[in-house]
Amino acid sequence: MSVFNQPRKRVIQLICLSMVTLIVVRLFYLQVVETKYSKLADANAHLRKVIYPSRGIIYDRKGRSVMRNEALYDLMVTPRSVKNIDTGYLCEVLGIDKEEFIKRIANARMKEGPVRPSVFASLLTPEVYGKLQESMYMFQPGFELVLRPVRSYPYGVGANVFGYISEITPGMLNDSSGKYSAYQQGDYIGMTGLERTYENILMGQRGIQYLVKDNLNRPQGPLENGEFDTAAIAGKNLRLAMDIELQLLGEKMMKGKVGSIVAIDPQTGGILAMVSGPTFDPNLLSGSYRAKNLGRLLTDTVSPMFNRAISASYPPGSTFKPITGLIALDEGTVGPEFGFDCRGGYGNCGRFSKCLHSNVGHASNMRNALANSCNAYFMHLYRLCVDNKKWGNTGAGQAKFVSYLNDMGLGRRLGVDIPNEKSGDVPDTARMNRRYSGLWNSCSEMYVGMGQGLLGLTPLQMANAMCIIANRGFYFVPHFVESIDDDHSGMLKKYKEKHRVANISDDAFSSVVLGLEDVVTKGTAKGVQIEGVAVCGKTGTAENKARINGQTVQLKDHSLFVGFAPKDNPKIVIAVIVENSGFSTTYAVPIASILMEKYLTDSISPKRRLALDKMIEANTISPEMKAKSKLDSLNSVSYMALAGDELLRKIIAK
């Protein structure tokens, strides 16, 4: 029988072969033609782990590090591995109850799944960390401690300058511009201040380590012996123009006061100190209690997180008079010898505006007018500038005046290297039209000439304008960072560029400078004199009105001082504003003098120590506001606060 069906052997062989061929074709497609499977396999089995570099450090002008990278620990949990632990004891150490424990485990499970670690308690306090480390063996393998670098600030100052770092927000992560595409959830990023501006430099370059993982996402070791890994590159260090001791002294003196100090090295534009009072200890926004403290600081009645030095705008008052003079000279409207016959006021505009002086000849030339701070002289000068026939009409004259101000960095952002700088206010055409419904002349805002009216400057702008005078015509954009270690970013290029804004003969310039010197030697700022140093400056008392309950109320004047020293080789320009503190001699002048002396001579003379103590003790914040503020108690809990006081004593004793 078999013989009959012999050909069927072929059929069966054919069936086998065709089936195997089908399989081979399919295999060829899967393994050779289609490439997505190897990608899918990599996605399955590769784990990309980011290695964080240490963040760059910031040093002051003398190479002192103003911050440290401190190691804090996060307690991480891997929910599935939590077995047979003494939950009660862990809760006790962490200071949480059982319900919270269960909630956090559930959260961790939701966030990262049951087999990957997620944060159970972040940035443990040193005490909790100490206790946990001893008993960690009891909670393993479910729990582990993971290192988190955090900033700490040994001087406890410069909070608004340095800024703070915190976990990247969901909003930033969802940002469509791709600015934050390199970040992942849980990454730290500079939120304000220098930490934000120089984020890319401080952050360094993250390393990437590839691991292989199993089907439950558990790492199983390095991929290809680390062949594809990239090492982390540490962040670069920033070197500031700031003198940290000057900053400390300034902050201590602004304690209990609302206001601001800006000190600039006019020859480079480097900011020596920038204080906004009242301020807070930057250590409050670093470490275990960051979130809690941030909430308190943001809601405090004295707004400690508002950097008044760059964000608040003040009427400059008399400190603006040298600028009016400078513009008049540069325009060629008047010469330095120009005099005005002031009889105790200015009446050319129909109403009589009083002047402090009425003796004949107190404004016989620009130097005298500055030394005596003659209101009438500078109001008149402003009007002459605006009405100068050269410009054609008053409107054009006003526009020209404003363009001078803009050139000097007023009414626009200077471009300092921390965020949130405001532009201040200048009486430009649009603002004049709005204020006077389009009908105005040089009389309308004649007060601008003496630093009042539609004029508002940030303390930084005041200091920078004084730099132009100190430098006899030029300035550098004020900035904190003088150099970056191993820098290729080009971020500092714009701060090395000299901006010349006035082309006035030395003679004419010296009349302004001498006027400012007279202010110190015989005028309102006698208190600022430093032995052996020629100091120039201008005090100001800015009227200050506020609308309270629908009524315009005259508040206590702001006290101002803007000056520089030494006269011929200026090394420091300083602007001090103390809000609502009355005459400038009380606070602004002593504060400026102490800081200038400290910077120029690196010591504080014994006769000034009394004044220093007085400044530190004095409180000009209204009692109602002070009563609601929790800032002092917040600052005093910071463990660095004492260190700051210790340092201060050392500085004074020098």
Binding site: I12, L30, Y37, S38, L40, K213
Partner: protein, 428 residues
């Protein structure tokens, strides 16, 4: 056997024996690769038998003892006990149905003093022997309808019993005996009809039933039009066309939906739908998807032995049993897979060659049975790992981990070798 003084290995077919050893060794390597982790103590694992590959070594030892036993047995023993063994096998299947132990959704296992044993595997051997015995007996005339029905019944009884144990995959393997029967004279038209039926089932699953109804009607109309002369001559042809049309239509309209809702289990329906790409449930597709990723990521040359990330890190489920081919595909790539399949094809062709050189019908039918069983296992198992067939759990012969499977295939092959060694004898 005529010469008692002959060497032990006299008459053995070395190519088959060599390929047998090669496949078992490849299987061992693959199971080892699927389980081994860096730092494992190989000797310790082997001694403590706590890994599948270590147990497979033991099973191989047991299989070799069985093989030796078979080799030393007289060929006549197998013809003599074929029917008895078949009866015993059916009995075991019935016992399993009554007291079977469940492993992963099926009740096909028997516990015997700590060892688990799957009679459905063993019954393949019994059925093969019994079928060979029946077809080779003097009374059987395979051109008669009655004989054919009896042969079919011998296959379909264990098939049905195993279906009842929820081991659809193992049951399907029994259909391979129709290939044997085809060789022995079952009309070829049956194969064509079976093939058409598969096409019909697939289209019923893939295409909307109303569309199919129109298509069938259209085809029937065309056939009637082109055959109008023959139909005029012979009315019965028209009746036949209408009959086929009615059957096909009824099949897609009623029988398939009925089978899907009433007969098949939910998970079986889902697997079929997943395989056809009708359902994208990630859980249901997980096995096939991971298996295809593992094989596909192997590329042309493979990742190298013990370098496959997918199989080593447990992405592929059941990777030492049903999905063992993933390890080969991933570590050795297309090239390795081709060589591997080549061994199987060579084995199958060698078995067919051996079958055709037998003088006795019993040996020939038996050998064809062995070839068919191996072929079905191979085709279904590999198709399932590369997404050509639904996931039905049947092992890859001689390669997959598992004692029942390895021992059954060892016995199948060595009985064949014994019969082949005695091919000069006429066995009934």
């Amino acid at each position: 056997m005529n010469r008692p003084q002959a060497k032990l290995t006299a008459g053995i077919d070395w190519p088959i024996f060599g390929m047998y050893l090669a496949l078992v060794f490849i299987g061992f390597l693959a199971i080892f690769a699927a389980e081994y982790r860096e730092g494992d103590h190989v000797i310790q694992n082997l001694l403590s038998q706590n890994k599948n590959w270590a147990r497979q070594v033991l099973w191989f030892g047991v299989s070799m003892v069985l093989a030796l036993g078979i080799w030393l047995t007289d060929s006549k023993f197998f013809t003599a006990t074929a029917n008895l063994l078949y009866a015993f096998g059916i009995l075991l299947l019935l016992v399993v149905l009554a007291i079977g132990t469940g492993v992963k959704g099926s009740n096909s296992w028997l516990e015997l003093g700590g060892f688990r044993f799957q009679p459905a595997e063993f019954t393949k051997l019994c059925t093969n022997l019994a079928l060979a015995k029946y077809l080779s007996s003097m009374e059987t005339d395979f051109t008669k309808m009655r004989s054919r029905l009896i042969a079919c019944a011998m296959v379909l009884i264990p098939f049905g019993l195993i279906i009842l144990q929820d081991e659809t995959g193992l049951a399907l393997v029994y259909l391979c005996f129709f290939l044997v029967m085809f060789r022995e004279g079952l009309p070829g038209i049956l194969l064509v009809i079976a093939f058409s039926a598969i096409i019909l089932v697939l289209s019923a699953l893939l295409v909307d039933k109303y569309v199919l109804l129109y298509v069938f009607t259209g085809i029937a109309a065309l056939v009637v039009y082109f055959m109008r002369r023959e139909i005029r001559r012979k009315r019965s042809k028209l009746m036949m066309i209408i009959g086929v049309w009615a059957f096909c239509s009824a099949f897609v309209m009623f029988i398939v939906p009925f089978a899907f809702t009433k007969v098949l289990k939910d998970y079986q329906v889902r697997r079929i739908e997943v395989m056809l790409g009708k359902e994208n449930d990630p859980k249901a597709t997980y096995n096939t998807r991971q298996s295809m990723i593992a094989i596909g990521s192997g590329g042309f040359w493979g990742k190298g032995y013990l370098k496959g990330t997918q199989t080593r890190f447990d992405f592929v489920p059941e990777q030492s049993t049903d999905f063992i081919f993933c390890t080969i595909g991933e570590d050795f790539g297309f090239f390795g897979s081709l060589l591997f399949l080549g061994i199987y094809v060579a084995l199958l062709f060698r078995i067919i060659f051996i079958a055709e050189r037998q003088r006795s019908t019993f040996s020939r039918v038996y050998a064809y049975g062995v070839a068919s069983i191996i072929f079905f296992h191979l085709a279904i198992n590999i198709s399932m790992t590369i997404g050509l067939a639904p996931v039905i759990g049947i092992p890859l012969p001689l390669v997959s981990y598992g004692g029942s499977s390895l021992m059954t295939f060892t016995m199948l092959i060595f009985i064949m070798l014994r019969l082949d060694a005695d091919r000069q004898m006429v066995l009934r």
